[in-house]
Symmetry: C2
Subunit: 413 residues, 2 copies
Amino acid sequence: MSELRGACIIGQSGGPTAVINASALGVIRTALDTECVTRVLGAANGIKGVLEDRLYDMGQEDAAELDLLKYTPSSALGSCRYKLADPDKDDTDYKRILEIFQKYDVRYFFYNGGNDSMDTCNKISKYMQKVGYECRIMGVPKTIDNDLNGTDHCPGFASAAKYIATSCAEVWQDAHVYDTGMVTVIEIMGRHAGWLAGSAALASLTGCGPDLVYLPEVDFDMDQFVADVTAIYNKTGKCMVAVSEGIHYADGRFVSEAETSATDGFGHAQLGGLAVKLADIIKNKTGAKVRGIELSLLQRCGSHVGSDTDIQEAFAAGKAAVEAAVAGTTDKMVAFQCTREGGYKCETVLQPLDIVANFEKKVPREWINEAGNGIEQPFIDYVLPLIQGEPNRALENSLPRFARLKKVLTTEM
Amino acid sequence: MSELRGACIIGQSGGPTAVINASALGVIRTALDTECVTRVLGAANGIKGVLEDRLYDMGQEDAAELDLLKYTPSSALGSCRYKLADPDKDDTDYKRILEIFQKYDVRYFFYNGGNDSMDTCNKISKYMQKVGYECRIMGVPKTIDNDLNGTDHCPGFASAAKYIATSCAEVWQDAHVYDTGMVTVIEIMGRHAGWLAGSAALASLTGCGPDLVYLPEVDFDMDQFVADVTAIYNKTGKCMVAVSEGIHYADGRFVSEAETSATDGFGHAQLGGLAVKLADIIKNKTGAKVRGIELSLLQRCGSHVGSDTDIQEAFAAGKAAVEAAVAGTTDKMVAFQCTREGGYKCETVLQPLDIVANFEKKVPREWINEAGNGIEQPFIDYVLPLIQGEPNRALENSLPRFARLKKVLTTEM
């Protein structure tokens, strides 16, 4: 494969995670150290930054400050939820992307995101091939939801899972101090896949886990839910429940939908307020004292209790993307292939973008108990190795010392 | 002072904190190692455990397991919110407490709690003196609210403050990723005192703090709030607000109770706390995308990001209580006297119970800015030393390893 010289662009897209910046650092650091990559540009707010010619010159950043990205949550370059049109119907955006690629001689494009982002990569790649512009395009996975196809797991998931498990164990302690009754409902992210809600069950390893766990993989039945909670509450005086925001009735309606108004840029219903709603239903039915807790944004930015395994893997994914692209690969997403027997091992592999894009990987039904209100051991065996290791984060005054980037916009060609 | 031989009881009361068990450990460990303390009994659910003769024999606990209490959040012995009657009107409970004290030859009583608990201590102490039963009674302070009189600060406050500051810094990162507008409202505990909500401002030291902070020490004005938020939102496209759950109008009505928020399609009042209501009001007034986040129980049990200074001081308070009681002191609460100039120093002192009980210490008005929507430097200088140091907590599978006590109930005299 002949060497391809030129600039690279790295962009971040979709909802942020605790480790998406570790992946960005993996790309940026490796690209800066690669001779044939002439320049490293960071797209402000993902593909929008490309369309709007808002590109940061990453070579102007201080190296030590860049390194802090490894432990800085959220998307340091900015993110977007911008969906490219079908190029056969409207190729305006694609022409503009080509124009920017040509302007800066961009030959490498790395996009760090979830399903929608892999779709974006795929479309750009196909367009560039069609018009004959040589450019290597690689996806770097990211999503707390862990719903990407073709990879053992996704960077970002494990840190959120660890935050959730740790928080559930702590809340369990708090919810068990009085000898009066108490039902606690904890609402966890995950629209269509229950990986995160299921991770609440890891707290049980500490002796302080939820009594019931409801995932979107199983149709939700309100009467059964009330019966499940009441049975445990009547027996022990307490009940702690973890629910995915995405639980839905058999007809597909989200349980939270009565409170839903807005939709995001992709037409996904915005969810929230479910914990309080379910707690209220339990209160009305049982008279129990209740508490609804929504982990909200906290669970996806809680880098202070992140998984070091996740952080190192996220970095490795970014690094692998650059190395593969420089070696001649294009149209691929970096994925993880893992073994767990005889000790956890994880290696990066490459997957075609089109088997990744627009497909949501769910929790296997057999990893959920028959009653649909708990988790089976294979789920625990799957997640537990991923959350290992404490982040070696930088502190200042015992508070997080996040990366402070200069973000120098470039206009030079 | 003559040596007083006998058993001791340690009880925990009121809302739990991340470090109340460190104080309990300070009492238990010191008492177990003190020759004249013949037995160490833990009251199940505070004073209720005394009234109901539910006492754990702490001498039967494994020493290593007990030591884990230092990093185990919430009240390991169980808590209560039981208020003793005025003994001049109804002395039933006091007679019962005397009976239990006599049954187990209890000569030392340590109560670990907030304002109400110091009131409980004070009442029991006066009753025991009246009936001529020799018993030394000491209060060990605890409250995340930091509103106890007579002490520089309270164990439990700093860990909650650190959790809040860290979480606000992380949420700030998350709330700034898109180039679209966003208003985030974070609701923080503290019904009458704004120490915790004010601590959100510590996040500003990381460069990622709230734009506006509202404490209950200043009357809340909804029009002014909307104007404050709108001004910042219009200028920057973002606004992050920290509010105390206890903010109230000039007439004393809590905003959380007075504001009947928007109703859903069925005419039901929308569920959710203050953060969601305020966010909803901002959305209606400005059209901004909003997010209301309630830190809920998470902020008082988040021991994984606790302050080691707080943990060590909490332990020292428990230890000092036992040492003082054994030396002959009674009717006192352990308090902290601190200096900050020339480096932070903290020492334990003893305060009369009656200057502590039933008084709430507020944030000085001059530590809040004139507009009543932000914090001044003296507040930061006061809090910052308290949150220093990372907890050396035990982990198992990278998850918290909390103390697992046997809790052997005793009936033996």
